[in-house]
Each structure stands twice: as structure tokens, then as C-alpha cells.
Amino acid sequence: MKKKFKMENLDCANCAAKMENAIKKIPGVNDASVSFMMQKLTIDADDSRFDAIMDEVAAACARVDEDCRILR
């Protein structure tokens, strides 16, 4: 399932790149893209565990920048 989320307080482009890398490594994530320009996360992940995966994604983003939140 492909979904999009708005991100808040995504302040640095490098962080966005780091988050993207971290998210892509989460098992169950087929593809992910963090757009610094659009302040948006596009994620394609397994349907069945989507919510669990999103929790992991949020944790991964927080590790890079705790201020950044994913609105979902």
C-alpha cells in the first residue's frame, strides 16, 4: 500500500536524506521517499503490518531529528 504523510519540522535536507535511508531499511518497507521540498513522506509498505511499520518509521525519524513529526 502506498501512502503519503505530511511531515512537520523537517528542517534540514540532509536529515531528510538520512530518514529516507533509515526508513528504507525497515523490514516490510518496499520503497520510501522523504521530500524535503514538499515536507512529505511517501511510503510503500506491506499492507498487513502497515501501522506497525509506521510506528517504526516514526521512531526512525525521531532518531534523526526528534523535532520532526509525521502527521498521520
Binding site: C12, A13, F36
Partner: protein
């Protein structure tokens, strides 16, 4: 108009913009956020303190305090004021295992400066780092804003009529079938069909076309356009999620997630750059003093310079920002580019393959030649080339022309009046016969004949009309038996006729058993198609190739008219894919091939080509979905413009990369030899970022 614009309707991904997200989108982004304002105050206060400290320091008023701890504390206070968030974030990120983040690096660099007694430098570096960050954030916000402004096609509300009263509702809440009212000057919120009213509609936001389009009852209107002077009552045909506006926004937003090769390269580069520079800094701080003995302070200072420069931000921001600007510039002229990677590919495009019907030709039929039988006999073959061929072109692709059996053959032609003036009345007579015979028909071919005749038809003069499926029509016109149809009809009726070798759909007309003449109906070449080809050649496209399912004669005529390099005619849809694949295989590795099509049967080819370019208005939904670039107003001239925009964008992005890396490398080098100071390091970090961002903004202004 043969076809109504059906822009982007149907199924392109899921347009799942939630209501709240859309509303948030409307509100957001004043350039100066609350955060920015707070930061600005902190910066100003710190700056004043810094100046006061510097002045007092230099005028010797602190001589009584001593370097440590007095001086240290004096500088530490403003340092903490300006840098506390950096230190806080650095500490937090270390806990989270993010060692090489820029906050941490800045903290280490400034701490080290404090450590070696360069208090004022530590404060200055932190201060200017924050100034740079603020400016960077502001610039990014601005560019984001200017791009989203340009894409500001999202309707705020829809007026629903209920019990004679208008009520504003969220476009999301309107369902297909509902009636909405669009007042003068309002944005059309949803796709629909006009039921009442008449107005001029400004489609500029979608197509870049500045001439308004007329809309009256029965016409389709597209969401995102602005209603001109009249009030329209519109029956909604699609929910908001499926409307044109939602789909376009969807496409544009997704565009930034398809990254260009350059972008990926920079991201990869950034991943190694920071650790390498940081390790180099550590080595620089420790090894030389051990080998050379002593001078720790000096070497630590040099290492700090490395740390300050080690953030790859300038690159990581400015490259996607440049592409984003390029995509924005493209959408401003009515071209949707679905990703940075495609923009990059367009810049390398050297071969462009066109589908014929709907791309280079209008897909509309028009009488292009009327040849009365006796005049036709006079025309001899030599005369042909000297005659200016009309903008003639054959009927649609073989697979898509539903015109029963009137498939064209022959005719010797002339419409340009190189022939005798006497021919004129004969031609009128021939047209009149055909128009009357086809008077009751609504078939496109019949319509085009009626249109060419141009006078009202007194249909009471026509009787005994009989459609002969696959052949044509038989009717009594003013008492004579008229036949109009293809060669088979003539043969069947035993009429000696002259075969016409011209491209297009050919209608033979006979009266009372005698051949009366031939009418050729052709698709017309699009306005600007010739210019488009010329422009493309000018911007460096080496080969313009046309593929068509049409007959050779027709195809070659169009090719000659437009100045194309190659034509492949009489192709089945599957053959087109093969042709494109052959071309792709023959292509040098650094060059790209684009395919331009309007969609019917084209989707596989659009996907197969390096760049698929589809027509937004005429194109089928499948084509728009499969395409990488969508021409919203079907204007092929825009292709050359896109090539220019993409080249400019790439130039800007490359400038940024070279400039940022160049300055960083230079300052690193100077720093290693002790010839650069912290100030230069801060410039190489945030200064370069800001300049690169400003440069990227130029991409948005491309024409």
C-alpha cells in the same frame, strides 16, 4: 471540435489528499514562521552583545578580568544564548546514535575553539552558523511557497444550490451528479458539464494558455480553471479525488519523489563526505602535533575548520531545489513533468518519435480536396509537385478510424485554384451533391462535407436515403440518384471511376450512374507542428521520427510538410513498440529517446521510451498515466521549451555542485595548511548553501 478535453480523468493512482491535509496546505507557509522570528531576535541580541564584547575587549577594558575564567564566562553567556539549541540537539542525537550530524559538528568545533582560548571566534562561528541556517530556512520556505503558489489551483469551496439558496461547501463533500454554481471569477472546484449559462474560462493555471476558452451548456469544464465573466451552473461528473485538480496536484507532488541521477549521486556522496571530513579533522588534530611536537592549539583550530565544513547541506538542499524549480517552471507553461529524473532525461534527449494522429495532426477531419470528374481528368501528373499541397493528411490510424468502409483510395486533386476558375463551380456542385446526399448523416466524414459546403441544406430536396454499410450512401437529390462512397460502392454499382492515389479518406460521388468526382477528406496538421519540429532541431534534437498506422502516402505527405527525418508508416500498435525498441538499441548510451503520443494504443510505447510524452487534453487516461511528461494543452511546441528548461535546470544544478564542492575543497585545503580561519569555514558551509539556494531559484524562472 471533435473531442472534448478529458484531461487526466479516469484512473491515475489514488488521489488521496485528505481534507485536513488540504486545508493545512492552504494555511501553511508564510515565509517567516514563528520559529524564524524567535531565531531572529536571538541573533540580534547576540549580535549586539558580540559587538559590545569585541569593542570592550579591543579597547582594553577587560584587561583586569583576565583570559580565564573571566573572559571565558563573558563570551560563554551569549554563546549559550545563540547556541543552546544546537548543543541540546547534538546531545540528543548522540544519545540516538547520530554522531555525525551538523549540530554535533558545530558543537565540537566551537567547544574546541573555546578550548584553545579563541572565545570570540567560538561565539562568532556559532552566531554566523545560526544566521546562515535562518537564511537558508527562509529561502527554502520562500521557494517552496512560490512553487506552491504557482500550483495554487486548489479550489477552496464549491457553491451548492439548495432550495434556491447557495451554500458554500468543501469540494470534497460534493458528489457526482450534484449541481454546483460557479460565479464570475471563481475557481471551478470540480470537473463537470455545464447545464446552464455561458462564460469564458481561463485555463492558464492548467495549460499556460492565455486565451480563454468559451464554455456553454453541454460543454465540459475542468476543475482548477477560473471562470470568467458569466455564471455557470455545472453538473458535477467526478468527485474531488478524481477531479483534474486533485490529480494534477498528485502528479506534481509525486514528482519530487522521483529523483534524478544527480540527486542520488549527491545523496550517496553526502553519506561518505561527512564521516571522511570528520575523520580527517580528528587526524589533523592529533597526528601532526604528535609528529611535529607541540602546537596543539593551532592544529585543533585547523581541525575545527574541517568540522565546520563537513556538512554537505549546500549540496543536499540545492540540488533537489533546482530540480523542483525546473518542474515548477515547466508546470507554469502547462507541462507536467512527473519527476526530476525525467527532467534530467529530457535534457539529454536527441531522438524524438511522434505518433501522427492527435500529436502532429489534429485528429479532426476536413475536406481538403474536391475534384470534379472532368476537371480531374485534365490534371496531369507533372502538375502535382508544383501544386502546394493542402495541409492534407490522411485519416486516423488504421485501428481507430471507425469510418465504415470509406477508406480512401485515389483522387487527382486540386483545391488551390491553380486550376481554372471554371473548376470552381464544378467543385461547388460536387460538394453540394455530396452534402445533400449525406445530409441526414451525423458521421464525421459526412459532417466534414456538410461543413465544407457551408450553406444550409434544404433537406426536403433529399429523399430515399439509404445507407449501404461499408460502402457509402445512396440518395435522391433534386430528382437525380446520387451515390457517395468508397471505391467498392462504385464497383458494385458498375460505375467507371477514377482512382485517387492521395492520402486521406476518399469519397467518390456519382450522379445518375455517371462518375461525378472525388472528395478527399484529411486530418489536418496541427497549428505549430512545423514550428515545433524546427524548434526541436534548434535545441539539438537530432532526429525527428514519425510512426503511424496510416498509409504510406498520407504519412509521407505529413513528413514532407513538417520536415521530419524518418517516417515509418502502416504500423500496427505492436510494431510501434518494436520500432522504438530498435531505435533505443541503436542509440548511444548518453542520449535519450522520447515518444510523443496521444494515447490510443500508445501506452506501451510511452512506457518503453526513455521519456514518454502524452497529450493532456486529447490523450487517453492510460497514456497520461504511462507518460512521464504531460503536455496539458497538447501543444507540441512546448516540447522544445521543456528541453530548454531542463537544460537550464541541469546547468544550475551542476553549477551548484561544482561551486559548493569547489569552495569546500579549497577551504579544506587552506585550512589544513593553516591559511584559512573559522570565518572562511563558516562561509564555506552556510554561505555556500545560501548562494546555491539562490542560484537554484533561477530554475523556477526559466522560460
Amino acid at each position: 471540435m471533435a473531442r472534448q478535453p478529458r484531461l487526466l480523468s479516469g484512473s491515475i493512482g489514488a488521489g488521496k489528499r485528505t481534507k485536513s491535509a488540504r486545508k493545512a496546505g492552504r494555511r501553511e507557509e508564510e515565509h517567516m514562521t514563528e520559529k524564524h522570528r524567535k531565531m531572529l531576535i536571538r541573533i540580534l541580541v547576540t549580535f549586539v552583545l558580540f559587538v559590545v564584547l569585541m569593542v570592550m575587549d579591543h579597547s582594553g577594558r577587560f584587561s583586569w578580568i583576565g583570559e580565564f575564567p573571566g573572559g571565558f564566562i563573558l563570551y560563554l553567556a551569549p554563546y549559550l544564548l545563540i547556541g543552546y539549541d544546537i548543543i541540546w540537539k547534538a546531545a540528543r542525537n548522540i544519545r540516538n546514535g547520530q554522531v555525525f550530524d551538523e549540530n554535533f559538528l558545530m558543537m565540537v568545533a566551537t567547544f574546541a575553539a573555546f578550548g584553545v582560548g579563541e572565545y570570540s571566534e567560538a561565539l562568532a562561528v556559532m552566531l554566523f552558523y545560526q544566521v546562515g541556517e535562518l537564511f537558508q530556512s527562509y529561502a527554502v520556505n520562500r521557494s517552496r511557497k512560490s512553487i506552491s503558489d504557482m500550483m495554487d489551483i486548489c479550489p477552496e469551496y464549491a457553491n451548492i444550490e439548495e432550495n434556491g439558496e447557495l451554500r458554500q461547501v468543501d469540494p470534497d463533500d460534493v458528489e457526482p451528479g450534484n449541481l454546483i454554481v460557479i460565479k464570475a471569477g471563481e475557481r471551478i472546484p470540480l470537473d463537470g458539464v455545464v447545464v446552464e449559462g455561458e462564460s469564458m474560462i481561463d485555463t492558464a493555471a492548467l495549460t499556460g494558455e492565455s486565451v480563454p476558452r468559451r464554455a456553454a451548456a453541454g460543454d465540459e469544464v475542468i476543475s482548477g480553471c477560473v471562470n470568467g465573466s458569466g455564471t455557470l451552473k455545472v453538473k458535477v461528473t467526478k468527485g474531488f479525488e478524481d477531479s483534474t485538480v486533485a490529480r494534477i496536484l498528485e502528479l506534481v507532488e509525486n514528482a519530487s519523489s522521483k529523483k534524478a541521477k544527480l540527486e542520488n549521486f549527491i545523496t550517496r556522496f553526502a553519506r561518505y563526505y561527512t564521516p571522511v571530513v570528520t575523520i580527517a579533522a580528528a587526524v589533523l588534530a592529533v597526528i601532526p602535533p604528535l609528529i611535529l611536537g607541540g602546537g596543539w592549539a593551532d592544529w585543533i583550530q585547523r581541525a575545527c575548520i574541517f568540522l565546520v565544513i563537513s556538512c554537505p547541506c549546500a549540496l543536499v538542499i540545492s540540488v533537489p531545489l533546482g530540480f523542483f524549480g525546473g518542474i515548477g517552471a515547466a508546470s507554469r507553461i502547462g507541462v507536467l513533468v512527473k519527476g526530476s529524473n525525467f527532467l534530467e532525461a529530457v535534457a539529454e534527449m536527441t531522438t524524438i518519435v511522434f505518433d501522427k494522429t492527435g500529436t502532429l495532426t489534429k485528429g479532426e477531419f476536413r475536406v481538403t480536396e474536391v475534384i470534379p470528374a472532368d476537371v480531374g481528368e485534365l490534371a496531369d501528373e507533372d502538375d502535382w509537385d508544383s501544386r502546394k499541397l493542402n495541409e492534407a493528411d490522411a485519416a486516423g490510424e488504421s485501428g481507430q478510424t471507425p469510418f465504415f468502409g470509406k477508406a480512401g483510395e485515389t483522387a487527382i486533386a486540386n483545391e488551390d485554384g491553380t486550376q481554372l476558375a471554371a473548376g470552381e463551380s464544378a467543385r461547388q456542385e460536387l460538394l453540394r451533391l455530396a452534402a445533400f446526399a449525406e445530409g441526414y448523416s451525423t458521421h464525421p466524414i459526412a459532417k466534414s462535407i456538410q461543413e465544407a459546403y457551408g450553406k444550409p441544406l434544404e433537406l426536403n430536396r433529399v429523399s430515399d436515403v439509404e445507407e449501404l454499410a461499408g460502402h457509402g450512401i445512396r440518395a435522391q437529390v433534386d430528382g437525380s440518384a446520387v451515390l457517395a462512397g468508397n471505391g467498392k460502392l462504385m464497383e458494385q454499382m458498375g460505375i467507371a471511376y477514377q482512382e485517387c492515389q492521395r492520402g486521406g479518406t476518399v469519397v467518390y460521388v456519382a450522379r445518375d450512374g455517371r462518375f461525378a468526382g472525388t472528395i478527399v477528406i484529411s486530418d489536418t496538421i496541427k497549428d505549430g507542428a512545423r514550428e515545433a519540429i524546427r524548434d526541436m532541431k534548434q535545441v539539438g534534437v537530432k532526429q525527428c521520427i514519425m510512426l503511424t498506422g496510416d498509409r504510406k502516402e498520407a504519412a509521407q505527405e505529413v513528413a514532407r510538410e513538417l520536415g521530419l527525418d524518418q517516417v515509418h508508416a502502416e504500423l500496427l500498435p505492436g510494431d510501434k513498440v518494436e520500432q522504438v525498441e530498435a531505435l533505443l538499441n541503436a542509440q548511444p548510451p548518453k542520449e535519450r529517446l522520447a515518444f510523443v503520443g496521444d494515447g490510443i494504443n500508445d501506452a506501451p510505447v510511452l512506457t518503453r521510451a526513455d521519456i514518454g510524452i502524452a497529450m493532456g487534453t486529447m490523450g487517453s487516461d492510460a497514456a497520461i498515466e504511462a507518460a512521464d511528461v504531460v503536455l496539458m494543452d497538447d501543444d507540441v511546441r512546448k516540447i522544445a521549451a521543456i528541453v530548454r528548461i531542463s537544460r537550464k535546470t541541469l546547468r544550475i544544478v551542476k553549477q551548484n555542485i561544482v561551486f559548493a564542492l569547489g569552495v569546500k575543497a579549497l577551504v579544506l585545503l587552506l585550512g589544513a595548511f593553516g591559511m584559512a580561519n573559522m570565518w572562511e569555514a563558516v562561509f564555506a558551509d552556510v554561505g555556500v548553501s545560501v548562494i546555491a539556494i539562490l542560484n537554484s531559484m533561477r530554475a523556477l524562472k526559466s522560460k
